[in-house]
Amino acid sequence: MTDSSLDTAWAVDWLRRSAAVVSENRMALIELDRAIGDGDHGENLDRGFSAILEKLDSEPPLTPAATFKLAAMTLMSKVGGAAGPLYGTAFLRMGTAMGEAVEIDSALLAAGLAAARDGVVARGKAEVGDKTMIDAWTPAVDAAISAADAGASPAAVLAAAAAAAESGAVATDPLIAHKGRASYLGERAIGHRDPGAASSAMILRAAAQAGGASA
């Protein structure tokens, strides 16, 4: 791995850091989901990412794409609810976008993140402003593409994506939800952060930390 590319170790580290941050924030995500959903988001993701850790130990993947496909299959079969298929699709599409590459440069990284986001949109049909994880992913992808176009390193691309995702998550606070369970609440969802946007920001921050740590 060089300054200008990320490798399988990064992908694995990303997942491990995601597992750690989700586990640490399990209760916080439950609380967010309790307010405008059914209170299981933290539990569901924690179950899924714990299972990923076990899989990473028992069948270490050989490429970034294989790493993300392992994550996708595990999330799909362990998480359930809305987040399982959505995160599952995100990681699956990212893996597919990365093909056989073992070194991920900034352009491929941005393309991978865009494919992940497009996968979530394809499954969930949410638009920006619907108060879903898309409100974190779309600004993250936009920032990643801009950074990559401007010649930034993969680590910088990830840092830009994470920061944008965090702002995007915060920006869901004043919204009415149009998708997912929070949409049943109408105006009562106002003032609450979308749990999926919050977890997406955490996971993208984990990607940046893995990128920075190994850069």
Binding site: I30, G81, P85, H178, K179, Y184
Partner: protein, 332 residues
């Protein structure tokens, strides 16, 4: 949180295991992935499968048996099951005539069942899906995830189950399930919240004199909070949007279903039933069939839902047809 459980993470596995032991004459519990099938399958029959988050017991596993479901797939508490379990259960429920998935309309359930259906179809199993969305508390618009599937689910499962049992083909079973869904409306109320084991705290807050109108079955908050009222007043509030939306005409025959959310005594459900029956009669309807009890719950939530199903002759006949499942049994 005080619950009769061991490890919060083992609640579903242990509960379904106990269910399987208690009803070993009727059902078989499969683990890894977890699903429940009918003990005695009937060859050549359309398979009927349902599933969803746990915490709504006896839904769905309690309805596995003769004249109702062939398989049920319980997810984690209030969390849709995953595609692998749905696929495995679909394979088990298929005897060549295809499988109907009865899915409650929640994003999670829809996405997981959609994925499973695609993959099962790819494996050569014909799948039809009936999406239940009977909850009039939710606006059905482009700007929501659409109406939720609640109490009507039990009625869809019973009536479609009877159709499958009498030998209807795949499309016919799906069609009658759809017809039940099209003719049923439900609205619920909560007097208290429930506590999801892994969360350990009640799913929403209610003051001592508040109730939550338009509640779903996942401990999610409802349409709005109002001050506590008496049973007749609450019943009026639940029936009003049901009747406005169903728009029945004088002389229509209906099934009246008063469902307990898990923590409400039967005596209170009958007090609600009493007034609801009177309101329907006063509206010129004929209450032909009734169901009162805990059939689709939200853990230990206090409250109830009322469902009104407009019956036609075929639905009534299928409703009356024998059923032999752990949680619904008549005629045999």
């Amino acid at each position: 949180m005080k619950k009769l459980i061991n490890d919060p993470k083992a609640v579903v596995d242990e509960s379904v295991e106990g269910f399987g032991l208690a009803h070993a004459d009727l059902v078989v519990v499969h683990t890894d992935p977890l699903f429940v099938t009918r003990k005695v399958a009937k060859a050549g029959k359309v398979g009927l499968l349902s599933g969803g988050g746990s915490g709504h017991e006896p839904l769905h596993a309690g309805y596995v048996g003769f004249g109702m479901l062939d398989a049920a797939v319980p997810g984690a508490v209030f969390t849709s099951p995953t595609p692998d379990a749905i696929i495995a259960a679909s394979v088990a429920a298929d005897s060549g005539a295809g499988v109907v998935h009865i899915v409650k309309n929640y994003t999670g359930d829809v996405l997981n069942f959609e994925t499973a259906a695609e993959m099962a179809q790819a494996d050569g199993i014909e799948v039809r899906t009936v999406l239940v969305n009977d909850d009039v508390a939710v606006e059905d618009s482009l700007y929501t995830a659409g109406r939720r599937g609640v109490g009507g689910t039990v009625l869809v499962e019973k009536i479609a189950g009877a159709a499958a049992e009498r030998g209807d083909d795949l499309d016919a079973v799906a069609a009658i399930g759809q017809r039940v869904n099209d003719n049923v409306r439900t609205m619920g109320v909560a007097l208290s919240a429930c506590t999801v084991p892994h969360a350990g705290v009640p799913s929403f807050e209610l003051a001592e004199n508040e109730i939550e109108i338009g509640i779903g079955i996942h401990g999610e908050p409802g349409r709005h909070k109002i001050p506590m009222e008496d049973a007749n007043g609450i019943t009026d509030r639940l029936l009003e949007p049901i009747l406005a939306d169903l728009a029945p005409v004088t002389g229509d025959k209906v099934l009246l279903f008063v469902n307990g959310m898990g923590g409400t005594p039967a005596s209170e459900l009958y007090i609600v039933y009493r007034h609801a029956a009177k309101v329907l009669r006063d509206a010129g309807l004929v209450v032909e069939r009734s169901l009162v009890g805990n059939y689709i719950t939200a853990l230990e939530m206090q409250g109830c839902s009322i469902s009104v199903l407009r019956l036609d002759e075929e639905m009534t006949e299928l409703w009356d047809a024998p059923v032999l499942a752990p949680a619904l049994r008549w005629g045999m």
